[in-house]
C-alpha cells in the first residue's frame, strides 16, 4: 500500500503527514517524494521528527522535483540531523546564499541569548527599516525559546527533549515556528494543583487567552497571550498546537479545535512582510 505523499507541507496541511510519520516511529518513513511546497512550520516538525527518531533512524524519500529537493536541503534541515537518518538518494548540493530559512536549535537555556542575537542581527541586516517589527520577532523568540527548557522538559520522562525555531522569509510574510516535543501546555499547567486535570482545549484557552502559568508568582505567564495579542493587532496569524488540541488566531477571532495527538507545543506565527519592509507599526 502506498503511504501518504503530501504535495504541500504547511501549517495548514502538515497534520495528516504528521500522523503518518508518527505511525512509523521509531523508524518513520517521511515520504516527501511528491512534495512541491513547504513552510517554516513543516520544517520545524521535520526537524523534531528527524531528531527524535535519530537513533532509530528516520527514512526520508526526497522530493522527486530537483528544485524542491535542493530547496529543502538548503533550509539546513539535514545539517541538524547529524546522524542516523537515511535518504533514498544522496542529498543535492544546497543553493548558494541560502533560501530564506534560519534554523535555531535550543540545547539549553544558556545558549538562547547567542541564538537570539544571531537572529536579531540577521533581521536587522535584512530589514533595516523594520526595527519595530524585528523587535516583535526577537521578543517572541526569546519568550518561546526559553519556554522550552523552563516548561517543556519539566516532568518529561522516557524521551529526550528537542526544541527548534525556524524563521522563514516568505514572499508576503515572515513565518516563525517554534516547536518542542515536551510535556505540552496541559502537562505544564497540570503541575500546579490549581490546574490539575485540565484538558488540552482548556489549557490552550487558559494560556493563550487568560495568560495562565503553572507558577503562582503573578509576574509569571502571559508570554503566549502577549504574543497572540501582538499578532492580532498586526494582522498576523498564530497557530498553537499541543497534544490533541490546536488554537488558531486569525484576524480578530480565535478558535480551539481537535487535532491528531502529538506531544509538546508547536507554535506558528505569521506576520505580514510589509511590517518589516516599511517599518510600520
Amino acid at each position: 500500500m502506498l503511504g501518504y505523499r503530501p504535495r504541500t507541507l504547511t501549517v495548514h496541511t502538515v497534520d495528516r503527514a504528521l500522523q503518518e510519520w508518527l505511525r512509523g516511529f521509531p523508524k518513520p518513513l517521511v515520504d516527501l517524494s511528491n512534495l512541491q511546497r513547504f513552510d517554516a512550520y513543516a520544517i520545524a516538525l521535520l526537524l523534531l521528527i528527524g531528531k527524535w527518531a535519530c537513533d532509530g533512524g528516520a527514512r526520508f524519500l526526497l522530493p522527486e522535483r530537483g528544485d524542491v529537493a535542493r530547496a529543502l536541503v538548503s533550509t539546513g534541515l539535514f545539517g541538524f540531523l547529524s546522524r542516523g537518518y537515511w535518504t533514498d538518494r544522496p542529498l543535492p548540493e544546497p543553493a548558494e546564499g541560502g533560501t530564506g530559512f534560519v534554523i535555531l536549535e535550543v540545547k539549553g537555556e544558556e545558549g538562547i541569548g547567542a541564538l537570539v542575537d544571531s537572529l536579531a542581527q540577521r533581521l536587522s541586516a535584512r530589514f533595516p527599516f523594520g526595527e519595530w517589527a524585528n523587535r516583535i520577532i526577537v521578543k517572541g523568540v526569546f519568550e518561546l525559546l526559553q519556554n522550552i527548557p523552563q516548561h517543556a522538559g519539566v516532568g518529561l520522562h522516557g524521551r529526550p527533549l528537542f526544541g527548534f525555531a525556524v524563521l522563514e522569509e516568505a514572499e508576503d510574510h515572515l513565518h516563525l515556528a517554534v516547536v518542542d516535543q515536551g510535556v505540552g501546555l496541559a502537562g505544564s499547567l497540570g503541575l500546579n494543583p490549581r490546574y490539575r486535570g485540565v484538558t488540552t482545549a482548556e489549557a490552550l484557552e487558559m494560556v493563550l487567552v487568560e495568560g495562565a502559568s503553572r507558577f503562582d508568582d503573578p509576574g509569571r505567564g502571559g508570554a503566549l497571550r502577549a504574543i497572540r495579542e501582538t499578532v492580532r493587532a498586526n494582522a498576523g496569524e498564530m497557530y498553537v498546537r499541543t497534544g490533541n488540541g490546536a488554537f488558531l488566531q486569525e484576524d480578530v477571532e480565535w478558535s480551539v479545535g481537535e487535532v491528531p495527538e502529538f506531544p509538546g507545543v508547536q507554535v506558528s506565527i505569521r506576520l505580514p512582510r510589509y511590517l518589516f519592509e516599511r517599518g510600520e507599526n
Binding site: 537555556e109 538562547i112 541569548g113 537570539v116 542575537d117 536579531a120 519595530w132 523587535r135 526577537v138 521578543k139 526569546f142 519568550e143 526559553q146 523552563q150 495568560g211 503573578p218 509576574g219 509569571r220 505567564g221 502571559g222 508570554a223 502577549a226
Partner: protein, 190 residues
C-alpha cells in the same frame, strides 16, 4: 524633586547586552539592582538606565525590574525608590505589561517626558502628575489643586507612596502638629 534631598545612584543595563530576554539573566540582574538599591542611603533613588537596550522582553523585565519593585512595595528597604530611564517608549512596553500583571506601577523617564508603566488608577495618575509637576506638595495643596477633600488627597498620596511612586516626608505644620509632604523623585520634564 527637591535638590539634594535624595541620594541618587544609576544602574545601567547596557552592560548586559543590547537584547535582554531571559528570565534567568533577569534574576541575576535583579540581585545586582537590589544590592545597588541597598547601597543608596535613604531616602535614595535608583535610576535604571536603559540606554543602548534594543529589546527588553517581558520575562527579563519582570525578573530584573518588576521583581525588585515588588520587594520595595512590600516594605523591604524603606525610603528607596527606583525608576527607569528609556530612550524609546517601545523598549519598556513589555515591562509595562508585566507591572500591570503584578498590579504595580513604575515611573519611566522618556525623552522630553515621563510616564507611568503598569497599572495606576486615573485618580492616582492625576495626583502623581501634580506632585511631579510641582516637585513637591502637601495633601492640602493637592486637595485645593484637584478640587477634592483633604482626606481624599491624603489617601491618594498615601497610595502613591505605598506604590513607591513618591516619597512622603513628615514636617511640622505651621499651625502646630505634623503634616506629610509628597516629594517627587524625578524632575518635571513636561
Amino acid at each position: 524633586m527637591r535638590k539634594g534631598f535624595f541620594n541618587e545612584a544609576t544602574f545601567s543595563l547596557a552592560g548586559y547586552g543590547a537584547r535582554l530576554g531571559l528570565r534567568r539573566e533577569g534574576i541575576t540582574v535583579a540581585e545586582e539592582i537590589w544590592r545597588a538599591l541597598a547601597r543608596v542611603k535613604r531616602p535614595g533613588v535608583l535610576r535604571v538606565e536603559l540606554g543602548g537596550i534594543e529589546v527588553l522582553s517581558g520575562s527579563f523585565a519582570d525578573a530584573a525590574l518588576a521583581g525588585p519593585l515588588s520587594r520595595l512595595v512590600e516594605g523591604a528597604l524603606p525610603e528607596r525608590y527606583m525608576y527607569v530611564a528609556a530612550p524609546d517608549p517601545e523598549v519598556v512596553e513589555d515591562l509595562g505589561t508585566k507591572l500591570e500583571q503584578r498590579n504595580l506601577a513604575m515611573i519611566a523617564l522618556l525623552p522630553g517626558t515621563w510616564d507611568t508603566l503598569g497599572y495606576l488608577s486615573p485618580s492616582l495618575r492625576e495626583a502623581l502628575s501634580l506632585v511631579v509637576d510641582r516637585g513637591e506638595t502637601t495633601s492640602a495643596e493637592l486637595a485645593e489643586a484637584l478640587g477634592i477633600s483633604p482626606k481624599a488627597a491624603a489617601v491618594r498620596l498615601k497610595e502613591l507612596a505605598k506604590g513607591k511612586l513618591i516619597h512622603l516626608a513628615s514636617e511640622p505644620r505651621p499651625v502646630g502638629g505634623i503634616q506629610r509632604r509628597a516629594i517627587s523623585f524625578i524632575l518635571p520634564s513636561r
